[in-house]
């Protein structure tokens, strides 16, 4: 049900404090590359590498706005990870969806 390769990429991306800080920054809104790099006392190419890891995990995307490239946060992969974490969350949601669907189908048949 879950794409384990993507999970691995997301978990790898989250395993580094700088990358978590970048996500935290982008959660407040899109930013340009230099604005992202500024708070960190690292070389620009280190920031570039971190962004590549985040991009591979699907946690950020780049969009061109005229001459500028804005980098923004994407929450989808984190929701997948959260769902995967909670075994019972997944279990009951799947069960209840099936149960609900059974009664919906039954009602449809009765109307015919």
């Amino acid at each position: 049900m879950y794409d384990m390769d993507q999970l691995t990429d997301v978990l790898t991306a989250l395993s580094h404090p700088t990358r978590r800080a970048i996500i935290g920054q982008l959660a407040n809104g899109p930013a340009r590359f230099l604005d992202i790099a500024k708070p960190f006392d690292t070389a620009l190419n280190a920031t570039t590498k971190h962004l590549k890891v985040l991009e591979r995990a699907g946690l950020i995307e780049r969009q061109k706005h005229g001459r500028e490239v804005l980098i923004s946060f994407r929450g989808g992969p984190l929701r997948e990870v959260a769902g995967w974490m909670h075994e019972y969350d997944r279990f009951w949601n799947e069960r209840l969806d099936q149960f609900e669907q059974y009664f919906k189908n039954k009602k449809k048949k009765e109307k015919k």
Binding site: L11, L14, S15, P17, R20, A21, I23, G24, Q25, A27, N28, K38, P39, W84, M85, H86, E87, Y88, D89, W92, N93, R95, L96, D97, Q98, F99, E100, Q101, Y102, F103, K104, K106, K107
Partner: protein
């Protein structure tokens, strides 16, 4: 995250297009898809107060005891499996009439909040500790 006695609670709501009594009965009928007893490899089910159940699926045994049966409004039973690490957890269902439908609520409490209970791998606790700081309420520390 170091307290192994910390427990998790999950709550789910569904609106079912049928009256409460029908939904209540459906939840206890192993033939109806979606309830816990459906698709069992082995099932022993005695849905009355102090009745027990045994449910085997994918080589994972589940055990429990019904503690409340109030047709058509409420079912409560305990729930133990390898995912609860032998701890007795509690599943409570309520069925409330909502027009022609039923608002069904399932609450599962007392689930051990451990790495094994969550079914995840080592290293998660660190992430879970840091996650609320980053996303909780926008109160991220500014540089």
């Amino acid at each position: 995250m170091t307290n192994s006695k910390k427990t998790l609670e999950f709550k789910f709501d569904r609106t079912i297009p049928a009256p409460p009594a029908e939904v209540f009965d459906g939840w206890l009928d192993p033939k109806i898809p979606g309830n816990p007893w459906n698709m069992a490899e082995k099932l022993l089910l005695n849905p009355k107060v102090d009745g027990f159940f045994y449910w085997l699926i994918k080589e994972n045994s589940h055990y429990g005891r019904f503690t409340e049966i109030e047709r058509p409004s409420r079912i409560q039973h305990t729930w133990m499996s390898r995912s609860t690490l032998g701890e007795e957890t509690t599943v409570t269902l309520t069925f409330k009439k909502q027009g022609e439908d039923t608002l069904m609520t399932l609450v599962h409490t007392g689930i051990p909040d451990t790495e094994a209970g969550r079914g995840h791998e080592r290293g998660w606790n660190h992430f879970l500790d840091i996650f609320p700081e980053q996303f909780g309420d926008g109160s991220r520390k500014e540089k």
